[in-house]
Assembly symmetry: C2
DNA sequence: GTTAGCACTCCGCTGACCCGAGTGCTAAGA
DNA sequence: TCTTAGCACTCGGGTCAGCGGAGTGCTAAC
């Protein structure tokens, strides 16, 4: 890691702050102003030249001011940044936006919406991983003479349903009985703990309905497989078109197209769930298309287990301090809400 | 309505076709080429001047070719257009994209995705109106000692769930009994037919659980109120950034911001459900922000009732023939799928 | 009614020019 | 050794004139 003396740190911070708000290369004069420093612009210039040498600042062209490099942002984020906690008003506003929710999925959408509405960036949220949800209840609902819908309710208010064809006549009473047996047997298991063994034991007990249970087993397996392509919500994509770095619609289109791809977003949100908040800056992205953007993301938990993640996508010229605080705050809030409805 | 002789119609059609594919004002020479006409450019020029007089063509500036006006597109759509049916390959592709679906909501998302992926435009789809779905089953699932989750299953695979606090101890057996009573009583009603009267009668019969039923009644009322803000899906927003008319990201941002607003989209899709396909062109939009776009939309049905709508949003310079055929095809397909799972 | 001919208009591109911002360097001062 | 004033230098961006070309509208002849 680079070593910077106190003054260089101050200057780097000043360049970043100014550049983030003004979106234009910042010159030495501007820095003197910003820092109310007793030194002359020339001194600052010398320091900036040194910072450029170190690779944290750069020069669009000879007679322009300085601009932070991705490395500069990295240094800033890791060492220099002060978080900007959301104001009390903002917090109540956010809480209200998350206020009413019915199902878990909608809640994730609400978080995405809230996050986008208080920033000028796009937001992404992944819905809680189904396999971490606890099984509460299974109920069979007759649809036709041989068709049946299986509904699984999990804690946190998650509901999963799927229609099956049992290929044989089903009596409502038998289905009710089966519902009760299965519900009791699986109560309290996390969805990913429901293994073939467990189901096999049930199948023995309720041999008279093997076929439907096997179908459900298949369904559960499928759900786990589908977890990679889990549901993600993106909001405020139009926000990033406001940013001057995306004034060119062609470039912006590539970014938006990437964000519309669920796989890309899932990858973004799966990055480093062991940290509370993580930041990926410009060229650090694996995806070419995202190299002009930064992502600030955080995992959220449900009963102490990581269940999903949420994040902000914006230009590298981002208000990191604010983004980080916001993401952290919403991840915590979401965790609390998901926890209490269990 | 304007009367155009055959040749003028041909020329208008030629201008639109050429402009739609090339995105540049088209001159008289180009038209002669396109029509393989025996007449000279000068003749075409005279005709084009007449068409301009009639208000269906216009002139960006003196020495440019002609461009259709919104009125010109309107005439074209109403009278001159030939639908371009999707190819067999496209149809199978679309069918496959709608292939696997679990819940109704996901299906709407899949349609939006499919529609966006075969065009260069954005697509919008509204999820089936909950109040038109038929009640199938209600089940109460105990969450805690006094908490209970009510799950309503409708035909077409719709699932709605909501947690309630009954404020009194609830026995699982009592809940089961209540589930059965209510399910039987409401079986087959459309959600919007479940009135207070109907519930009131049930409340009498099952007086011992009034409180929870009243809460459910409240919930249903709420759902109907929320129908205005029904769920809409938008996909392929990045597509419209590819269009040359939105090369300026600022202008494009306004359109995207509008499309991110569920109310705006709901309004678009609620326009004229009595027609099978409807087209709104540029300045015909009520919303200022959408005056640069055209929307091609169609309602889809469920058991013969209109349940929702889907549409394409693109620049006024749109391949209307193709858009209309695609929208119609998908609306029909969706109706079929929703019908058969009942 | 059609068409050849032609003058006219106006966009968009190019290159010249200048202005201003901000730099890097040098040399003097603390 | 660090700081600073002074200054030449560089380069982007804006303005402006000039032009080439596309496409028109008009006129007059067929």
């Amino acid at each position: 890691m680079l070593e910077l003396d106190a003054r260089k740190q101050e200057i780097l911070r000043a360049v970043i702050h100014t550049y983030v708000t003004e979106a234009e290369p910042v010159g030495s004069e501007r820095i003197v102003q910003f820092l109310r420093a007793r030194v002359s612009p020339a001194t600052i210039r010398n320091e900036m030249a040194a910072l450029e040498e170190l690779g944290v600042l750069m020069h669009p062209h000879t007679s322009a001011g300085r601009v932070p490099t991705d490395q500069g942002y990295r240094l800033y984020v890791d060492l220099l940044l002060r978080e900007e906690q959301p104001s009390h008003r903002e917090r109540t506003r956010l809480r209200r936006l998350l206020g009413e929710h019915e199902e878990v999925d909608r809640l994730a959408g609400a978080v995405a919406h809230a996050l986008a509405s208080v920033t000028d960036y796009a937001s992404v949220v992944s819905a809680p991983l189904p396999e971490r949800q606890l099984f509460k209840h299974l109920h069979f609902i007759p649809l036709g003479s041989t068709q049946v819908m299986a509904v699984i309710v999990t804690d946190g208010g998650g509901i999963h349903g799927r229609a099956f064809d049992a290929r044989e006549r089903l009596e409502p009473e038998a289905l009710d009985r089966l519902s009760r047996v299965v519900s009791q047997a699986l109560q309290g298991y996390a969805l990913d703990e429901i293994t073939e063994d467990l189901l096999a034991r049930m199948v023995d007990e309720a041999a008279w309905q093997q076929r439907i249970l096997l179908a459900i087993l298949e369904w559960l397996r499928e759900r786990l497989r589908a977890a990679a392509a889990r549901r993600v919500y993106i909001e405020g994509a139009a926000n990033i078109l406001k940013q001057p770095e995306f004034r060119d619609a062609r470039a912006a289109g590539l970014v938006l197209a990437a964000l519309e791809d669920e796989h890309v977003v899932a990858e973004l949100l799966a990055a480093a769930p062991e940290r509370d908040v993580w930041v990926t800056i410009g060229s650090e992205h694996r995806r070419e298309e995202l190299r002009g953007t930064s992502v600030v993301a955080a995992p959220y938990t449900m009963h102490g287990h990581v269940a999903g993640a949420l994040g902000i996508v914006g230009p590298t010229r981002m208000r990191y301090g604010r983004a980080i605080a916001l993401v952290r705050y919403l991840a915590l809030s979401l965790g609390e809400i998901l926890g209490e409805t269990s």
